[in-house]
Amino acid sequence: MNTDSSRNGGMATNGHTAVNDFNIHVATANGSGSQTSNMVLLRSIFQMGIPVCGKNLFPSNIQGLPTWFTIRVNKDGYIARRERNDILVALNPETAPDDVRKQEPGTIVIYDETLNLNQQRHDLIFYPVPFDKLVKPVCPEAKLRKLVRNMIYDGVLARLLGIEMAEIERALKQQFKKKAKAVQLNFDAAKAGYEFAGENLPKQDLFRVERLNQTQGKIIIDGNSAAAMGSMFAGVTVFTWYPITPSSSVGEALIEYTKRYRLDPQTKQATFAIVQAEDELAAVGMAIGAGWAGARSMTATSGPGISLMAEFVGLAYYAEIPIVIFDIQRVGPSTGLPTRTMQGDILFTAMLSHGDTKHIMLLPSSVEECFTMAGTAFDLTEEFQTPVFVMSDLDLGMNYWMSDPFKYPEQKINRGKVLSAAELERVGKFARYQDIDGDGIPYRTLPGTKHPLAPYFTRGSGHNERAGYSERPEDYKNNMDRLARKFDTARDRVPAPVLEDNAQAEIGIIGYGTSTWAIQESRDWLREHHGIQTSYLRLRAYPFNGDVTHFIRKHRQVYVVEQNRDAQMCSLLKLDLRVEEVAKLRSVLHYDGLPITSNSIVRGIMAYEKDKPTLQPIETVEKILYA
């Protein structure tokens, strides 16, 4: 089945026009300079007021392997990935035959004429373009030709789809900032494509753009840049990292932003320390050392890094040290698919490290939440003196998303329960791990505090309330019970779920993170095409709070949508729920490495709903879930 609103690709034949509602799929070779032409294409449509989303489907490679960039243009603002294409730009000789083979009838294909793709099928609309012939006159320098050649398809598409050339030029200026020569060269190539299409490619399809007013004031940004920006405004002072796809751009963006905005205006000295460590063990160890000594410290990594950090994170949990860890999840297990997306570290991270451990996780769905949750994570980690994970993913972190501009954080930062020398003098006593306030959160002092009560010895071994070494059963148990109490306190302090309640709905959907965009689209489809009303609860953090239980109770059936094989969040939910609530849960799972689509969610839900409108006995549910 197909839920796409513009699913009928044969528009040229059935007269259905597709205005501001189609997909462009660009197939190139990695390292061929297509990033510029793709971004310019994305931005120029965006600048015409039309909602867009750009996703990079790239290989783990530097140069030469196939890469795809997909742009979804959608007047209704749907920005999840869509399964079918409407427009293919086939420039990679290696993949072109396969790229063409996979298209649905009616797809239009813009291709390098030397590839002779029009011989392959007769149910597609072909537009041959002589790329090499066109690039030569506009780019006399042979060594630059490869880089500007791709701009030709921007020009061809501008002509065929009605993208304004002035917006292409504006997008190029944005891309190259002050490099006027680069702007000119690339724009000349786009113009060559535009003029060629005008003279040689009579329009055979009905796809086009029309200026709208839906992106006014909006920004386009990737989630990792948003996370870096959010961290800078949250006052991060120590960032330690080890490069790993897809998290490296968090560090790179933070370096760029802090150099601009976090140097002392007079002395040019830094109010931050950023260190590329020798591995993830050192990266998290440094961040823990810094958090212990009172810095707002953070690291960013992905699955394999999370695995390496497990031991240190257990120390931070047990010794109660603040640290923010951004996990930009990618496809595992092991090295997996390093450049593909997955919500794959949920269960592992929730209980990362040996012994009884559990961790606060924040679940951003949007670039805006990457920004805001960075601040929330720092406040929570210092308030609770425990690691806080922000579970982003490759789709969110590395792809380009529209957003309202980020709001300046107005609130003061929360540095948690830290006692100064003066406060120690006033209070007259200090025990590092004592629960004074009944919330499980103890007080701490920072190294260098000049007071005889301040010093204590931090250790990952058993300790009593005064941080002394202890193997006494009652000390161990008291401490572990207090840590559990602290985690319970966090339940109502972490971001609450976002609820879209529908009084008519018997069916509830629970989702989180990047799945949300496809979930929203699938809910519209279920309502419009199957008459199924749904409520939606978007989780924003672990531990869960009472809203989740209430939501499940209210619905006949609750589908938990996520991007992994093993229903990781659903499993985590089950630990908190009673058996009658567990019985209502069913998982809808997407795990092929590509971002989730609305189609896959509708398929998953309809597979249950069309035959089984009533509640199943538990045994049946379990069978379905674990079949």
């Binding site: 920004i219 920006m229 002072t237 931050f272 810095a295 120390l315």
Partner: protein, 351 residues
């Protein structure tokens, strides 16, 4: 470093040191290591060195990894915060803490297993970063807490109590540190009170990583015949590269010496290090000389001790970060959160 305290008259017979403190805050909890363990002697030397140098103990921060050695920071400087990290990864924790507050004086205690086996990666990167940190390896060639297995510093041919012979070559942490660009490299023996005290004081005065490998016999598992880390073996094979004398910056003492056999080094804080009875061609600020001496003595079957290499002038890791003068951990919000116009500017660029 913490030696910026105003100079006060040096305590002599009095029980107060130059900053007016008794020795008590320099001491720590009661040791739980074996009686006669070399580590306890090192603890004593650390207490004395910090006390005699008049270091403000509240300004010190202690680190360790895991193992017998790593317990010892609980036994000295109770007025300082301490952090017993995970096995082999104390350098990372120390690096983070020193970045958070670069005004602290850091001392880390590791062991031969904690450094040369599980911690080798972090050790290497600590040496090349030149983090301001005193890094002591309490080196007994074996794993005490797990009952005496060989570590990677155990010498080829050394024998366990059980008769097992080590058939792999030892890693020489000093040789390695020199190769990695460490700026202060020394080896001592837990039983050599005078030498170890002088080296520790010099380490306190150093502005970068001061790496000290201290042979510290394990009385329980590695002090028998056939061991090359036993008290008697070390005493029989120790060869002094130099006599180490240390004149702290707050003492104005004129010392006469023969420039042919003694080399004076001015430390980061102005203290003076006098290395005497040097071979004529030996220069302690020449890494190649140091490596050659170490290598030659090893071929002769000697255990060379002393300060092998010292470079008091190079930039340390904190210098390279170009940080503001105030510690990062206590910067006020207005210094770490850019203004409203910064965000507006960034948003404008993304529209």
């Amino acid at each position: 470093m913490s030696t910026d305290i105003a100079t006060a008259p040096v305590a002599k017979a009095a029980k107060l040191n130059r900053i007016g403190l008794e020795i008590a805050p320099y001491r720590g909890g009661k040791t739980t290591l074996c009686a006669g363990c070399g580590h306890n002697a090192i603890t004593e030397r650390i207490i004395d060195a910090f006390y005699e140098m008049g270091v403000d103990p509240y300004n010190v921060v202690k680190f360790s990894g895991i193992g017998c050695s790593s317990k010892s920071p609980a036994y000295f400087l109770e007025a300082a915060h301490g952090f017993n990290a995970v096995h082999g990864r104390m350098p990372a924790v120390a690096t983070g803490a020193m970045m958070a507050n670069h005004q602290l004086l850091g001392i880390g205690v590791s062991g031969d297993g904690d450094t040369a086996s599980i911690g080798m990666g972090q050790f290497i990167h600590l040496m090349r970063r030149n983090l301001p940190l005193i890094y002591i390896i309490e080196d007994n060639g074996c794993y005490g807490l797990t009952k005496g297995q060989f570590s990677a510093t155990a010498d080829l041919g050394s024998k366990l109590k059980t008769g097992v012979v080590n058939d792999l070559p030892a890693i020489d942490t000093c040789m390695l540190a020199i190769e990695l660009g460490a700026t202060f490299v020394a080896r001592s023996f837990s039983g050599d009170k005078k030498q170890l005290s002088a080296i520790l004081k010099a380490a306190i005065s150093h502005g970068g990583t001061a790496m000290i490998d201290v042979i510290s016999p394990c009385v329980t598992f590695n002090d028998h015949e056939g061991s090359t880390k036993s008290y008697s073996y070390v005493k029989d094979h120790e060869e002094l590269l130099n006599d180490v004398s240390f004149v702290p910056f707050f003492e104005d003492i004129a010392i006469e010496y023969d420039p042919g056999t003694t080399k004076e080094v001015t430390m980061h804080d102005g203290s003076r290090l006098l290395l005497s009875k040097l071979p004529v061609d030996y220069n302690p600020s020449n890494a190649l000389d140091a490596a050659r001496r170490l290598g030659e003595s090893k071929l002769r079957g000697e255990l060379l001790t002393g300060i092998f290499y010292v470079n008091p002038t190079g930039a340390n890791f904190i210098d390279l970060l170009h940080l503001v003068d105030e510690p990062l951990n206590t910067l006020p919000l207005e210094q770490v959160r850019p203004g409203r116009q910064a965000l507006e500017e960034l948003m404008e660029e993304l529209k």
